[in-house]
Amino acid sequence: MVNRAKGIKENLWAYGFLSPWFVGFLVFTGGPIIASFVLSLTRWNLLGTPEFVGLQNYVSMFSIGSGFVNSLRATLIYTVISVAVAIFSSLFMAVLLNFNVKFLGIFRFCFFVPAVMPSVAMAFAFQLIFHQQMGILNYGLSQIGITAAPNWLNDTFWVWPSLGIVTIFTYSTGQMMLIFSAALKEVPEQLYEACDMEGANFFQRFIHVTIPCISPIILFNVVVGTVNSFNSAFSIIFPLTDGGPANETNVLSLELYNQAFRMFNMGYASAVAVVLFLIVGAVAIVQFRISKNVVNYD
């Protein structure tokens, strides 16, 4: 009886301390998700009363000229580029940090500092860097004889590498670097010693030992990075290109924002949010399924 009372007491305290998370989840995540599903079936200009329209928003989304397909294409391109860039650059930096060199703390600090900068501030900085006439990047290129430098953010091809470069300095990449850095320290030293005895070089060790050992972490970072890229695209692209040039980078999160808060088309925007929610979920599931054959959990 005493144990049961003690258990109830502990449970109450546990729920008490967990309640901030529950409240936060319900108010800021769970509630809005449910509201989005409901609002996606309405026509609502924010100020008036929502009007039930059934699936009309979803029909409009997939009709010709809606822009949704273009936004979906832009989102997928950005996701592939940003995840690839973030994974490779963060792993590269983590490997560098794994070397036993002097001033490692300083290097770790320097690599991570850009990641704690607000992404919007960083985007504005890169807007100046990429400026065609007055940007430091094109100035640098002109100094090595490249005078026909690209209009980085206003060219449908070069805008994507530009966004890729910005991705290297985002929080997502910095976070991945720390996770990879921790994972690399967990690789059993005896495996490397065995490689050394076999005469393997650095790259052979990396491909055949390091990568398999940290493959669960790579999967984790790919999944989290993918999910993040669907959402974080907004904070980079909105200040940097605002969806341009010619809607080339008008990703779904930006389309959602424009429809909801700039065009006051909340029903349609909610439908976009629902589809984005389903896409993110589906991509994560597919990634886990595919990874079963390539991830080493031993």
Partner: protein, 419 residues
């Protein structure tokens, strides 16, 4: 008893969590000093309570204190969100496109009774284009604070160095293009001085289209874009790609080649007069050159009162002061924009004289003669998206026929959906 205490502690913990997640709604009301009423006022300029027009109001109305809600970016988006969330300020400076929406949805109140009882606000004194905006609502829901249009700014020193005559009020597009070619300086393949900057403000595009002969927006608030748009796109394309005297459009307006001394001309709103007051070279303003027509798109904003405000009487006293002769004079000096009231505008308080320019204050007259409210009456995102298609023509990403035959109808369809 102990169990009750445990339950109480749990309830306290849960309530604390709920309190943490609660948000401040930012409502106005009466301050600790019960004699002082606090009202909140939103505007897009970055100002604080030390602004002369606020200080003058406080001096004349010690029982009311104005708190500024500054929203420098995405103003319309933020204000609409605040209105929906019930946190909008007492006095909302509303965009032309928002004011009728707010009125139709009951978010702002009619000012007819206030105006009828006021000795300070004379609604018959508004310039004609501004007065015409009253037809947008059934009754008076907003009072225009000031108005603005667009100019051609030019660097006198560059013109003189190149031996090119200064622009005049009678300039045409061809005159501007010829001058831009003479003023562009190249070092091999690199342009070191541009004849004219790219268009980095949507309003300039719509002024250009109006000069091309289009109405831009008809009396039913539908897009009216055709040959004027074609002429505008062809002209700007010539400047950018054929003559290469204007740079390609860039993302954002972070860099101003004109103020940096890298371009001889730029087309901007008249509010840049204040921003350019400390330029280190001699400069001046003229009306935008005409083509099929002389035209500038006009801008304004409306003082409105939030229908949810508990301090509507105090809010009106603030608006009444700002629309008085003293208030309009202070606002004109502060914003470098002419008063919408003709009697005040005629006194020229908007003339913010810089060290090296401008001198041609008569250029402001063409706002009254040739200005119309056009694209600002439509959803800003739709018109901005259309501008990104205009830019796409200059970047070689699309063609003029596609813009006119596909993108303009798409934009109109989006506007129809919003109405």
């Amino acid at each position: 008893m102990r169990n009750l205490l445990k339950v109480r502690n749990f309830v306290i913990a849960a309530l604390f969590a709920i309190m943490l997640s609660a948000c401040d709604t930012g409502t106005s009301g009466t301050s600790g000093d019960s004699a002082e009423t606090v009202i909140r006022f939103s505007m897009w300029d970055i100002v604080d309570e030390t602004a002369p027009f606020i200080q003058a109001f406080h001096a004349a109305n010690p029982d009311i204190r104005v708190e500024i809600v500054g929203i420098p970016e995405d103003y319309s988006t933020v204000i609409n969100t605040m209105v929906v969330g019930g946190t909008a300020p007492d006095v909302i400076l509303a965009w032309e496109v928002d004011m009728p929406r707010f009125a139709a949805n009951g978010n702002i109140i009619s000012l007819d009774d206030f105006v009828a009882a006021s000795d300070l606000v004379d609604v018959n004194d508004f310039m004609p284009a501004v007065a015409g905006l009253r037809d947008m609502t059934d009754g008076l829901y907003g009072i225009p604070w000031v108005y603005a249009g667009h100019f051609l700014y030019f660097n006198k020193d560059m013109f003189d160095a190149a031996g090119v005559s200064h622009p005049t009020a009678n300039w045409t597009w061809d005159d501007m293009a010829t001058a831009a070619q003479a003023l562009t300086i190249r070092d091999g393949a690199t342009v070191t001085q541009w004849g004219i900057t790219a268009i980095d403000f949507p309003g300039i595009w719509y002024s250009l289209i109006g000069q091309g002969g289009d109405l831009v927006v008809d009396e039913n608030l539908n897009l009216s874009l055709g040959n004027g748009l074609r002429r505008a796109l062809e002209f700007q394309n010539r400047l950018t790609n054929e003559y290469q005297v204007a740079p390609q459009p860039g993302a954002g307006a972070a860099m101003d080649l004109f103020s940096a001394g890298m371009a001889a001309m730029t087309r901007q709103g008249n509010w840049f007069v204040a921003g350019y007051s400390d330029l280190p070279f001699n400069w001046d303003i003229v009306p935008l050159p005409g083509d099929a027509a002389v035209h500038t798109s006009l801008h304004t904003g409306f003082f409105t009162i939030n229908s949810a405000s508990p301090n509507q009487a105090a809010a009106w006293r603030f608006i009444e002061f700002l629309m008085s002769h003293e208030g309009q004079t202070l606002l004109s000096e502060f914003t470098a924009n002419p008063s919408a009231m003709m009697s005040v505008a005629a006194e020229g308080a908007f003339r913010v004289q810089g060290e090296n320019g401008p001198t041609n204050w008569a250029a402001f007259d063409y706002f009254n003669n040739y200005g119309r409210f056009t694209y600002v009456l439509l959803n800003a995102t739709v018109t901005s998206n259309l501008v990104s298609q205009f830019d796409a023509v200059l970047l070689g990403l699309t063609d003029i026929d596609t813009v006119i035959n596909v993108e303009v109808p798409n934009a109109q369809a989006q506007l129809d959906q919003l109405n």
